[in-house]
């Protein structure tokens, strides 16, 4: 429904796979950073006019 694919990551990492964890975490950070600040599903304060 339009959530950017860059923000959605699924991974299966065993507790013995530290390098894989580090690798995945770094990659997640990089892709999310590229996607920029989140704009969807963010609650802003109600505008009072």
């Amino acid at each position: 429904m339009g959530i950017e694919p860059e923000r959605l990551h699924f991974s299966w990492i065993s507790s013995s796979e530290a390098p894989k964890f580090a690798e995945v975490a770094t990659e997640v950070i990089e892709t999310v950073r590229k996607a920029g600040p989140v704009k969807k599903l963010v609650k802003t304060r109600a505008e009072v006019v």
């Binding site: 429904m1 339009g2 694919p5 990551h9 699924f10 991974s11 299966w12 969807k40 599903l41 609650k43």
Partner: protein, 316 residues
């Protein structure tokens, strides 16, 4: 299909008189034309209230969870699938039920009929097998019912009840031609931002009345996540983020369980097609797990079972 009423009354009366059931769940005529009401009947002499028309679109499976009585229930194709889902999910036992199956040729969408007469008040509706005549102040019009079916009935592939103890008429022919997911495929082609815009637009008038949830037989949790206050999972306002959260979660709770009965869409007072959320998930359940909800009382829903060959391409 119009002759079913007589047969329903006859079966119901017999079941109650012979004390084979304690209760019949069916439809009665609404107080307005084009409307029906659900009704629960316990005495044989009250069975003449039971009624059938092309506007019996509510899903009566909604009234089954956790009931203790022996129940006779009227079920169209889609309703029977939701009854099967209830049996699989242990909300009711098969032995408790006497399912009065209705082979269905589609429900007529009262909103489509209403818009046909520019919102003028319909005072009377008369049905024959193929046609519907509506009358009101200064107008009378006859239409073919097949041209005004509910959207979900147009693409329905399971019009005959999948489980039943008795049928009120001959089985109807199942459709083979339509691809039920044309519209979903179009949405799948859109870019993420376009999808977001489409779905945000779809629910922009939502008042969070929860009629869609209440009409749905799948939503039987004692406390729905939207009603919980401690912890409060989702804001209770009509802030677009809160509303979107409600709709995304409602749809995912129905994933692999929804029969596309259309009760949610019909219940919405502001005419939001909430099925656009659930239909994508139905398509996924079918394509990824080969599952259509409620076709058997043995098969568990895909999200509550594990198979070694389950789709897992999205996991690294």
């Amino acid at each position: 299909m119009i002759a079913y009423g007589e047969k329903i009354r006859e079966i119901a009366k017999k079941l109650l008189a012979e004390e084979r059931v304690d209760l019949i769940i069916g439809f009665k005529q609404g107080t307005l034309p084009l409307m029906t009401e659900p009704v629960m009947i316990k005495e044989p002499e009250k069975t003449d209230q039971l009624y059938w028309s092309s506007f019996c679109s509510m899903n009566l499976a909604n009234y089954l969870p956790k009931r203790k009585e022996k129940i006779g229930i009227i079920a169209k194709g889609c309703d029977s699938r939701n009854i099967a889902v209830h049996i699989v999910e242990n909300q009711i036992q098969r032995e408790q039920l006497y399912i009065i199956g209705v082979p269905c040729t589609g429900m007529v969408d009262r909103r489509k009929i209403q818009s046909l007469v520019d919102g003028k008040e319909v005072r009377e509706a008369i049905e024959s097998d193929e046609e519907l005549t509506i009358k009101g102040n200064g107008f009378e019009q006859t239409v073919k019912k097949i041209d005004y079916l509910q959207d979900n009935c147009i693409t329905c592939m399971h019009r005959n009840p999948v489980i039943h103890d008795e049928l009120v008429g001959d089985l109807v022919e199942e459709r083979k031609d339509p691809d039920p997911y044309d519209d979903v495929k179009e949405i799948e082609e859109l870019a993420p931002n376009e999808k977001w815009e489409l779905y945000s637009n779809l629910i922009k008038d939502c008042t969070r009345c929860y009629a869609c949830r209440n009409a749905c037989p799948l939503c039987y949790c004692p406390t729905c996540f939207v009603d919980e206050a401690d912890p409060q999972w989702v804001g209770k306002s009509i802030d677009p983020t809160d509303t979107m959260t409600f709709h995304i979660l409602r749809a995912f709770h129905c994933a692999g369980r929804c029969t596309d009965c259309g009760a949610c869409q019909q219940a919405c007072p502001v005419d939001i097609n909430v099925r656009l959320f659930t239909r994508k998930l139905n398509k996924d359940a079918l394509e990824l797990y080969g599952c259509e909800a409620g076709l058997s009382i043995e098969e568990r829903p895909p999200l509550d079972t594990y198979q070694p060959d389950d789709y897992d391409k999205f996991i690294r």
